[in-house]
Each structure stands twice: as structure tokens, then as C-alpha cells.
């Protein structure tokens, strides 16, 4: 008359823990296998070849070394002047790049900001307006700005105008979406107030919505300006103006030291803009000096 001893809570716990561990291990290995399969498939699809890569790396280093011409300590300033022999043209291109980014940011922010009120569920009024605006904004920002640039170059010819329009399109899409999210998070009370006092739709936006959203708008806009400077340096690759055009030509023509000089200008500009933008954004949110 022997029966199994009653199982204690401790051993039940041990069993369940082991079970849990086993299940977790199975899931993890399944996931690992799936992941490896993905990577393998990707490697085959993209013809990833370690040999070509290893052979290419010395050439990459060679290329990078050729970007900087020999600069001697004794003849430092003369060498640098020699390196930056075309500085006037490059400085002009850089100015163009910055102004392109500025104009595209302003235009895109105004148009995107205007559309954002129709893309906010709480302000759009009609669902159809909301839905259509959202889709338009999505297309504007999903098509990469350099693709917009290719299309605008067809119509407007080679030059900064095409680049500005391309970056503007992308900015409209991005700002419209971000601003719409800001708009959706506002408090409805001031709107009710304006409506109760007999305000129109425009008065609602002006007196109830804008004061709540302007600081966030400004923060996003500084950030967008920073990103647009980056875009403005590359739309030149397809002929849409800016310093990217100079870079592209010098790389195509194998003028390595010119390419190096321009790359240095670009990197210094991007880093400077990053720093300035960060400081501006903090001060804009902190003191709201733009938003009165």
C-alpha cells in the first residue's frame, strides 16, 4: 500500500521552472534560426562577397589617404592654400547650400504647418479631409528627396531651384505629420472657449491652437533645418545645386584632393549646424523667445 508521496510546492516549482526554461530555449533557437536564414538570404540576394570586400578595403584606404594632399610643417599655410585653391567657388556653393536649406525649411514649414491642421483628427472637421491630407503628406515624405530632385530637375533644369523644391516637398510631408501630432495633443478647453465666444475656425486656430503648439513647432523646425542642410549637401549629386554638385564632379573626375577639401567643408558645416541647432532648440523651448 505504497502511493507516491505528495509532491511539495518546491518540486512543482522546479518542474515548472524547467518547463519554462525549455520553452524559452526553443523559442530562442527558433528565432535564431529564422534570423540566420534571413541574413543568409540577404547575403545571397545582395551578392555579399567577403573576398571582394577584403580586396576593396586597401583601395578604400588608398582613396581616403589621397583625399588629403601632403602638407608639410614648414610650408603649412602655402600647402593649405594650394589645397583650397578653389575656395571662392566652394564658399559660394556652401552659401548656396545653406540658403537652399533655409528656404526649403521656411516654405515647407509654412505649407506643411497649414496642412497639419487638416491632418489632425481633432481639428480637421470632416474625416474625408483628414484622410486625404494624411495620404498626401505620406506620399510627400515617403518619396525620398533626391527622387523629388530628379523629377524637379526634369522640369526646372539643373540648378538650386530644383533642389529647393525637392527638399520643400519632403519638408511638407515631415512637418505636416509632426505638427499634426502636436495638434492632436493639445487641450480642447481653449478651443471650446473661443467657440463659445463665437469665434470662427480661423480664430479658433489663431487664439486657441497656435499658442499651445508654437514652441513645439519651433523645436521641430530647427531640427528640420539641420536635416535639410544635410539634404542640401547631397541633392547636387543629381544636378539640383549646392556643394554636392562640386563634390560629385570632383569625385567623378578623380580630383581627389578637391574632394577631400569639399568633404572637410561639409563635415565642419554639419557639425557646426548640429551644435548651433541644439543650443537654439533648448533656448527656444526654454524662453520661447520666438513665440510671444
Amino acid at each position: 500500500m505504497e502511493s507516491a508521496p505528495p509532491r511539495g510546492a518546491g518540486s512543482r516549482f522546479a518542474d515548472e521552472y524547467a518547463d519554462h526554461r525549455r520553452r524559452k530555449r526553443v523559442y530562442a533557437s527558433l528565432f535564431g534560426v529564422a534570423f540566420l536564414a534571413c541574413v543568409l538570404a540577404a547575403g545571397i540576394t545582395a551578392k555579399f562577397d567577403v573576398l571582394t570586400l577584403v580586396q576593396g578595403l586597401p583601395r578604400t584606404t588608398e582613396f581616403l589617404v589621397k583625399l588629403v594632399p601632403p602638407i608639410g610643417m614648414a610650408t603649412f599655410s602655402a600647402d593649405v592654400r594650394e589645397w583650397y585653391w578653389d575656395i571662392n567657388k566652394w564658399a559660394g556653393s556652401l552659401l548656396n547650400t545653406l540658403l537652399m536649406a533655409w528656404l526649403a525649411t521656411v516654405l515647407g514649414t509654412f505649407i506643411g504647418g497649414f496642412l497639419s491642421f487638416f491632418a489632425a483628427r481633432n481639428l480637421a472637421g470632416h474625416y474625408l479631409i483628414y484622410w486625404t491630407t494624411r495620404r498626401v503628406l505620406e506620399i510627400a515624405r515617403t518619396v525620398p528627396d533626391i527622387v523629388w530632385a530628379l523629377m524637379f530637375v526634369i522640369a526646372f533644369g539643373i540648378g538650386p531651384l530644383a533642389g529647393i523644391l525637392a527638399i520643400t516637398m519632403h519638408t511638407i510631408g515631415a512637418q505636416g505629420k509632426l505638427f499634426a501630432e502636436v495638434n492632436e495633443n493639445i487641450s480642447p478647453l481653449p478651443i471650446d472657449g473661443v467657440r463659445a465666444a463665437g469665434g470662427s475656425w480661423f480664430e479658433e486656430i489663431r487664439f486657441a491652437v497656435l499658442p499651445q503648439v508654437l514652441p513645439n513647432y519651433l523645436s521641430y523646425t530647427f531640427w528640420r533645418l539641420e536635416l535639410n542642410v544635410r539634404s542640401a549637401t547631397i541633392v547636387g549629386f543629381v544636378g539640383a545645386g549646392g556643394i554636392g554638385h562640386d563634390l560629385f564632379t570632383s569625385v567623378q573626375l578623380l580630383y581627389f584632393s578637391d574632394a577631400g577639401a569639399i568633404l572637410l567643408i561639409i563635415v565642419a558645416t554639419i557639425m557646426l549646424i548640429d551644435m548651433l541647432s541644439e543650443r537654439f532648440r533648448h533656448s527656444a523651448i526654454g524662453k520661447a523667445s520666438f513665440a510671444h
Binding site: 540577404a42 540576394t45 551578392k47 518619396v143 527622387v147 531651384l161 549629386f237 557639425m271
Partner: protein, 296 residues
């Protein structure tokens, strides 16, 4: 003390105006700054409009040409015979994004420990690694692609390397920020029970930072599908090559089909990645986990 509105005299108001000038009008300096900022911005914008030819008739001609030549000829999309080829190249684009992101994450993982203040004692080493990562990050994908196409030739490999290099920079920044924000006490706990350096990282650091790293890596993969789709413009593989080729040859209807393939693929990847993020790490954030989400 209560003040009744009816009792207020002009003299009271004048007295308050002297006592609290800021409550009645913004100080002159604030007004000046406000108008200088806005006025300056407006003037600069007007100058730009003039400089780049927005105010000339040529601009209107361009707009007319854009609607009649580009927009009108994009539709309806055609070239459905080539659709299987487009899909295959789109697959190559996604593969480039996956491998580039993965390589970048692999390079960045060890570097991010060197770049964290709480993991590296040597300040110059830590600071130098951070700046190096910033340097990699500050060139756009297309610029790196241009360099790699020259060095290792046309094709997806150049694109993969371009993505890998930029992402190394981005991930070093993101990962090391995560590492710097971790809770010291778990590492101390592992040390207290006699764990060595590797065990401290495995049991003290990784459990804290891995979810954040995974979430950011997935997010950057999503972002890189967009980047990979344009690298072909400089010859670095992917669907961008076909797209640029068709646009330059004025085959706009086929270009339209490629754009549709691209947009649909980008949305599908976004959707998948969002599901994966939620599944894997319970990342329910609606907004991007990365502070400088570059894609939007």
C-alpha cells in the same frame, strides 16, 4: 484684501503700471529681439526667393512644365512586364539595408563600451571614440556610397558598406547613451558575488541595455530601407539605380511603378518592424525610439 473692479481708479492702474511694468507690456529689449528675429528671418527668406529665381517668370514656366510633363506623364503607371524584376531589385535593396544595419551594429557594439563614460576610465579614449563616431555619422549615406563605389566598384557591396559605416556612428552614439544611463547597482551585485569583467557585462549590463539596443537597431533597419533605396543613384546597388535610370530616360510611367513598389515596400517593412518591436521587447511607443529619427 479683495479688490473690486469697480473700485479701481485710473491712479491705481497707473501706480501698478509703474510697479509692475512687465505685466502691461513686454520690455523694449524683448520686443526688439522678437521683431529682429522675425523681421530678419522674413528678409532672409525674401532674399532667397529672389536669389533662386522664385520671383521670375521662369519659375512659372517651370511649374507649368512640371505639371504638364512630369505629373501628367507619371500616370498611369506602366511596365508591368518588368514588375518581377523590380520586385527582385527591391528585395536586393532590403537585403542591403539588413546587412548594412547588422554590420554597423556589430562594429558599434564593442566600440560603444569604449565610448561610455562609466565603462572606460581613459577620458581621451572615450571622448575620441565618441568624436570618431560623430565623424562617421556626419557624412550622408550617399557621400559614403560615392566613396565606396570608387573604391570597391559598382554594386550593392558599396551600398552595404556605406550603410554600415554611417550606422556604426549612429549606433555607437545610441548604444553608449544607453550604457551610460544604466543602473550601477546590478553591476555591483555581480561584482559582489565574484563575477569577472565578462560576467559583469553579460549579467549586469546586457539585461539592462539589450531591449533598447534591439529596438533602436530594428528602427534603424526600417530607416535604412529608405536610405538603401536611393544609394543606387550613385551606382551603389538597389532600386535607386533603376529609378534614376528611368527618370533620366523620361520613362516616367515606369518610374511611377517603381515609386509605387518602393512606397509599398517601405510601408510593409515599417509595419513588420513595428510588430517585431512590440513582440520582442514590448516597445509600444508610437513615436520613434531614436531622438534624431532621420527619416521623417
Amino acid at each position: 484684501m479683495t479688490i473690486r473692479l469697480a473700485d479701481l481708479t485710473d491712479a491705481d492702474v497707473a501706480a501698478e503700471r509703474v510697479r509692475l511694468p512687465g505685466a502691461f507690456a513686454a520690455p523694449l529689449r524683448e520686443w526688439l529681439r522678437f521683431w529682429l528675429l522675425w523681421g530678419g528671418s522674413a528678409a532672409l527668406t525674401l532674399y532667397c526667393l529672389y536669389r533662386f529665381g522664385f520671383l521670375s517668370m521662369d519659375f512659372l514656366h517651370g511649374v507649368a512644365k512640371f505639371t504638364s510633363v512630369v505629373v501628367a506623364q507619371l500616370f498611369p503607371p506602366s511596365g508591368f512586364d518588368n514588375l518581377p524584376m523590380f520586385l527582385k531589385v527591391m528585395g536586393e535593396t532590403i537585403a542591403m539595408a539588413l546587412l548594412g544595419t547588422l554590420l554597423g551594429a556589430t562594429f558599434a557594439f564593442p566600440l560603444s563600451f569604449v565610448a561610455s563614460k562609466n565603462m572606460t576610465r581613459s577620458r581621451p579614449l572615450q571622448f575620441g571614440t565618441r568624436r570618431f563616431a560623430d565623424l562617421l555619422r556626419s557624412f550622408d549615406y550617399l557621400i559614403w556610397a560615392l566613396i565606396f563605389v570608387r573604391a570597391i566598384g559598382l554594386g550593392p557591396l558599396a551600398g552595404i558598406m556605406a550603410i554600415a559605416i554611417v550606422e556604426t556612428g549612429t549606433f555607437v552614439k545610441l548604444y553608449s547613451e544607453a550604457i551610460e544611463n544604466l543602473d550601477r547597482r546590478q553591476i555591483d551585485g555581480v561584482t559582489a558575488v565574484g563575477g569577472n569583467g565578462l560576467q559583469r557585462i553579460r549579467f549586469g549590463v546586457l539585461p539592462q541595455v539589450l531591449p533598447m539596443m534591439l529596438s533602436n537597431t530594428l528602427y534603424m533597419f526600417e530607416h535604412n530601407v529608405r536610405s538603401a533605396s536611393i544609394l543606387g543613384i550613385v551606382g551603389a546597388g538597389g532600386i535607386g539605380f533603376l529609378l534614376a535610370d528611368r527618370l533620366r530616360a523620361y520613362e516616367l510611367q515606369e518610374a511611377c511603378l517603381i515609386i509605387i513598389v518602393l512606397v509599398v515596400a517601405v510601408y510593409a517593412i515599417d509595419w513588420l518592424s513595428k510588430i517585431l518591436r512590440e513582440r520582442l521587447i514590448g516597445d509600444h511607443r508610437r513615436r520613434e525610439p531614436v531622438d534624431d529619427a532621420k527619416q521623417v
